[in-house]
Amino acid sequence: MFISAQTGVPDKWTSDSKHFILENFDAICNSPPQIYDSALILCPSLSWLYGCYSEKFPSKVKVVMGPAEWGACTRTVSCINDYTATLAYHNNTIATCLDNNITIFNALTGSQTAVLSGHIKYVISVAFSSDGTLLVSGSGDKTIKLWDVQTGGVVKTFYGHTETILSVSISVTNTMIASGSRDEQFVCGTLGQGSVLS
């Protein structure tokens, strides 16, 4: 899983610096000397940061054929699970399905901010509401859950599907949820009550 670079103002200080920290986050956290001994050496040769500091902290090791510019990927976050099923992204918040839990990451730093637990089988699909306050999830436990993103609590659990839920989404107005399931039914429900359409 990777968090894509957010390109804001063409400002060499902050964009270079953020790349520098995020790409080397785990290495630096484990051992601060890595700032000078690896992170700096691995900076793209044309970056402002490399130009500014490489001569001040000379190293025996040199990158001969490396990228000249920063790439799109800024931080790689390793997950314990074998695979990451689905992602949802809203305003600097990323929700991922990792087994029975939904894990929320801060997209700016890549740090884990919360774990939403409640489903009793693997979660397959997640989606944010348009304002980012609610999250809907569909799971192998045949339920759909609606979460309050801030507090991490379950607002409501929807029952009705008889098979694993494969996909969920929430309407722009925060009033309707649609879901698709292996039970070959497509369900569209208001947040008050669920009703099968077809």
Binding site: D11, T14, I21, I28, P33, D37, F57, A114, G152
Partner: protein, 504 residues
């Protein structure tokens, strides 16, 4: 203090006995009406009766006491201490969820509070003071929304909460599932004569203490007399903070108490201070008194006052006098800083040791000083933007001078998790002032208004920082375990740059 706020405490006792469904009590009061004192007394009362389960006193002055996510773990810890049955339930939860401190408020509430309580079934009171001092970005208090969701699962627990009537807290208590269960007492609407009697009792008791402690001053037994107490009470106009500030002012070790009191009493509502509330007038006069022997043309004295007090009230984390003197290089040694502050001991908590943090007694003081409508004397008024600018430049200067490679003298390719005495190393080589500066300099940058005159100087200093100090700064934040903050700080700078980029 014993004997005061009887009416309020009586109402609280009624609420405790009440079998009805009001399980939450909101003590709603404006700044300076005595919320925290009541909360403390009430907590002590409940503790004496064996009913207190746990308490949490929020305070913006302490990182761990202004963090929403420390509330439930703290309460759970105290509850486990108090009830063996609770502890029995809690221990396996902690073993299973070692990172519970980082989890969402809901799961904290559920795992740390609700589940153990459900197994325990005992009547308990939980006190949470000054909810408005917790950092919270939600439109409706996050703590209250969690509470509203789980309250029905723990029907035997009663919550006593105090807080200013801020929009976030108002809307929290208005939540549909919380509202019907909440009793509200508006402290600023309590019958004025009751409050006045309490303030008089408070003043009398404190003045008697002063009389006894300062028997050398020849104060009469009934000093200062009921007439003077009445005058003070009228001036206080219901605000306890007024009375307690007066007492601190009068009790100063360096002056005869009767002279100090006469000074306060003589303050009439004269025309220059027309329209000011009692507290504002008092603050103004205490400041004037602090400078009464200063030549009003002594700009250096006033500007030092502004720099020092400006820093004390604007920094984002309290600092000691020594750290302040590291930060405010132009204001001189710790003893100079001490002397700039010492006349303000009725407004600021100034510790004897230069290593302990200087704190503000009451939030209403910085509110007053930074509001040009309230603090009309320009010699005292502290313009936040100007002073944030000043602090910011000091921060950049401190970093320029002190940041270096391998600041903690760690050996070679060290694994940070294996350094045994990291906190000691941090305290020795980084210390409070550099640590503060590295964590908070961009917060000051954010508060500098983008059209201020010193912008070019700031820009140059930041440029210098990025060209020479950036890597060292990353190193310090890593050593402090706050590399995340570096990313936020860079975002702050990016936002600032967007705001000011048109100027360059």
């Amino acid at each position: 203090m014993k004997g005061t706020r009887r009416d309020v405490l009586f109402q609280l006792e009624q609420w405790l006995k009440d079998k009805e469904d009001k399980r939450v009590f909101w003590l709603n009061g404006l700044a300076g009406t005595g919320k925290s004192t009541i909360a403390q007394t009430f907590a002590e009362m409940c503790f004496a009766d064996g009913k207190l389960g746990a308490s949490f006193f929020c305070s913006r002055d302490f990182e761990e006491r202004s963090n929403l996510r420390s509330i439930f773990p703290t309460l759970a810890f105290q509850l486990a201490h108090r009830y063996p049955r609770f502890r029995q339930e809690l221990l396996p939860v902690l073993a299973k969820n070692p990172d519970i401190g980082k989890e969402s408020l809901c799961s904290q509430m559920e795992k740390l509070i609700v589940d153990p309580f459900q197994a325990m079934q005992a009547l308990t009171i939980v006190v949470i003071d000054a909810l408005d001092e917790c950092r919270d970005e939600e439109p409706a208090s996050a703590l209250l929304s969690v509470l509203s969701r789980y309250m029905d699962d723990i029907p035997l627990v009663k919550f006593f909460i105090t807080g200013r009537p801020e929009p976030r807290i108002h809307s929290g208590f208005r939540l549909a599932s919380l509202h019907p269960h909440t009793d509200i007492l508006r402290l600023h609407e309590v019958e004025p004569t009751l409050v006045d009697n309490d303030i008089k009792l408070y003043l009398k008791t404190r003045f008697t203490e002063i009389t006894m402690n300062r028997h050398d001053c020849g104060l009469g037994e009934d000093w200062p007399g009921p007439h003077n107490v009445d005058i003070l009470c009228k001036k206080a106009a219901g605000f306890f903070i007024y009375a307690s500030t007066v007492v601190k002012f009068v009790a100063s070790r360096h002056y005869p108490p009767d002279e100090r009191l006469a000074f306060i009493i003589s303050l009439s509502q004269d025309t220059t201070h027309e329209g000011k509330s009692g507290v504002d007038l008092l603050y103004t006069r205490v400041l004037e008194e602090a400078f009464h022997d200063a030549d009003s043309y002594n700009h250096e004295l006033y500007s030092r006052f502004k720099s020092v007090v400006g820093a004390v009230i604007l920094i984002f984390h309290p600092l000691s006098i020594r750290a302040l003197s590291d930060l405010l290089r132009d204001c001189g040694t710790p003893s100079r800083i001490s002397s700039a502050l010492c006349t303000l001991h009725s407004l600021l908590l100034i510790p004897d040791s230069a290593e302990d943090p200087v704190r503000i007694f009451h939030k209403s003081f910085p509110d007053f000083l930074t509001d040009p409508e309230r603090c009309t004397d320009t010699q005292f008024f502290i313009d936040p933007s100007t002073h944030h600018n000043e602090i910011l430049l000091s921060c950049l200067n401190v970093m320029k001078e002190r940041l270096k490679r391998n600041i903690c003298n760690l050996d070679g390719q060290v694994d940070l998790n294996k350094v045994k005495d990291l906190p000691t190393q941090r305290a020795t080589y980084i210390g409070d002032s550099l640590g503060y500066v590295c964590c908070f300099w961009t917060k000051h940058l954010e508060k500098v208004s983008s059209d201020s005159d010193g912008m070019e100087e700031v820009y140059k200093a930041i440029n210098k920082f990025f060209e020479t100090g950036f890597l060292f700064w990353v190193e310090v934040l890593t050593l402090m375990g706050k590399l995340d903050d570096a990313v936020y700080a860079l975002n702050d700078i990016q936002r600032w740059h967007m705001l000011v980029s048109h100027t360059f």
